[in-house]
Symmetry: C2
Subunit: 337 residues, 2 copies
């Protein structure tokens, strides 16, 4: 059941069927009706490969995700699902490609095989080979996160530096003097992972500006690391009265450490940072924190990508989101000790 079959049964030419479906040229109402009847009867759908070949575009986006070995976080997962749905709204499909690590074959296949019209690149590093690769291939792409010198490129990112800075000021207003940043893993920081690097610089700058003492620690993405990390903090800097974190995965461990140390939040210790809403709300007590708006980022990324595909020579656009901090109950005035 191809377009020729439909044409034959409707008594018209193949091109007429094509025009009737696309509406790119006028076709008489009677003919359209006849064609639609035949199509409905036979359940015809145009062959996507043939259409892609003829049109020169696939109506498909590539989504470069971190490899399975790097466990996806909750936020990343929500992002993937949201990208798929945002693409579906525009009648586009999403092709997944694990990238980074030793999965470059999949990425390469997507880039060179003209399988997609454009790519959304998750977890961009400050220096990122994939960005260069896509640039050389001339394939439109939108980065989630931005590179060191973004120049003329398309990206969507969360302004971690500003968010962390706000958290620090919030703590400063509450009278805290000695604070700590619980960052992501040392590997990520070393690899130039944007959120981790920018969180750190934002933290250090703002504590300095506010005349506070700011310490930073790296912490692997799991509860056990969070616990160990917090114990170490208490030992090295017992004067610390508040923590800022971007490490969601470590939170259960931090919570356990606080309980074990018999520290009440927020009476004895304040906790804040950039943490997905649903995790912040599930915490006890609910965390004062900024949310990474994965759904909004996904929709924005798809929108920018569409725009770029429609006009590849357009001036690159980008978006630096600053989600508000939701005041909940995990931060309080510093107790004079």
């Amino acid at each position: 059941m191809n377009i020729g079959e439909i044409a034959k049964r409707a008594g018209v030419s193949r091109s007429t069927v094509s025009y009737a479906l696309s509406g790119k040229r006028p076709v008489s109402a009677a003919t359209v009706r006849r064609i639609n009847d035949v199509i409905a009867e036979l359940g015809y759908r145009p062959n996507a490969s043939a259409r892609a070949l003829a049109e020169g575009r696939t109506r498909t986006f590539g989504l470069a995700i971190p490899p399975a070995s790097a466990r996806l976080t909750d936020v990343q997962l929500g992002f993937v699902a949201s990208v798929v749905e945002a693409a579906a709204v525009h009648d586009h499909d999403v092709l997944l490609s694990p990238s980074g690590g030793d999965h470059d074959r999949s990425f390469e296949r997507i880039v060179t095989g003209r399988r997609v019209d454009g790519v959304i690149l998750m977890e961009v590093r400050l220096e990122d080979a994939r960005v260069d690769r896509l640039g050389r291939a001339g394939l439109p792409f939108v980065a989630i996160g931005h590179v060191e010198h973004p120049g003329a490129s398309w990206w969507v990112d969360v302004d971690y530096a500003t968010l962390i800075s706000r958290c620090v000021r919030h703590l400063a207003d509450l009278g805290h003097q000695d604070v700590v940043l619980v960052n992501r893993s040392a590997e990520l920081v070393a690899a130039g992972y944007g959120p981790a690097v920018r969180a750190m610089s934002g933290f250090l700058e703002t504590t300095a500006e506010c005349g506070m003492t700011g310490h930073t620690v790296c912490c692997a993405d799991d509860p056990a690391a969070g616990l160990a990390c917090f114990d170490r903090i208490r030992e090295r800097w017992p004067e610390v009265t508040a923590a800022v974190t971007i490490n969601e995965a470590a939170l259960p461990g931090v919570q356990r450490a606080l309980e074990r140390a018999k520290l009440d939040v927020p009476r004895d210790f304040s906790l804040t940072g950039v943490i997905a809403d649903r995790l912040a709300e599930d915490f006890h007590p609910p965390l004062t924190a900024a949310n990474v708006p994965a759904g909004e980022m996904a929709r924005l990324a798809v929108e920018l990508l569409q725009e770029q595909i429609a006009d590849p020579s357009a001036t690159p656009r980008n978006a630096l989101l600053e989600p508000p901090i939701s005041l909940r109950s995990s931060t309080g005035a510093r107790r004079r000790g």
Copy 2:
């Protein structure tokens, strides 16, 4: 840079280039060398759409995922990533389709547009419209989970009934008499979600066989629900000394409820069930539990799908996995009250 251009520069015909690349007919070593040199120089890759059109297959699998509105669990996330990697091993790509809810357009596009060679269907319900749809379309597919009457179909599933049954027997051996099953949400059970339904039946059968008193409760997939749910259990059935669960997402709430009730695990209360290894290990104390082997299921599903695509008339195969229960430290002998 298409195959014609390569042919011209290598001084051969298009078909010779094609045969040199595919190896489907002998080509002299000298010619192959010349062609490869040109290809390397120009960085040529065959156009995936053209190839798909000519070959009649896309080298792409569809993966039907739950819609973004239904928050994906950690296990599901790992499964998606593993499917992509398993497919990449076979030089296949993965097209994502949110299905269920009102996202049928995307699913329909994938099914009818010949965009994929086969589909992996996540989260299959006991009655599942998608299974019927794929069957009618004659598109090869492998279900994750199985329908009420699986008949002649291809699927991979975890034997929840047996796993839960083993958990119950384990508790029986430890002397527990009154136990409760903390299931997934009531909606899922009502919708005929396999794991939830089979966990329940396995639980009820086994408690009966062992002469135990078994209660079951449904619980939404979040910590708050877990807390509320556990409080209700303590109130209604204070004699209960152990819980079995398949609801990972509710665990933090259950833990909080246990702490609030000053119940020590495993001294005062035992906890077990089907829970992802990494969550079980992060729990305090580490949970005695069975792990859902997402990676293995993904690889199996891809393998079965490949097999089915290669020979659509092959006798359907399936796999019912029974991952072992890892004994950790969350279960103990019942204390005589």
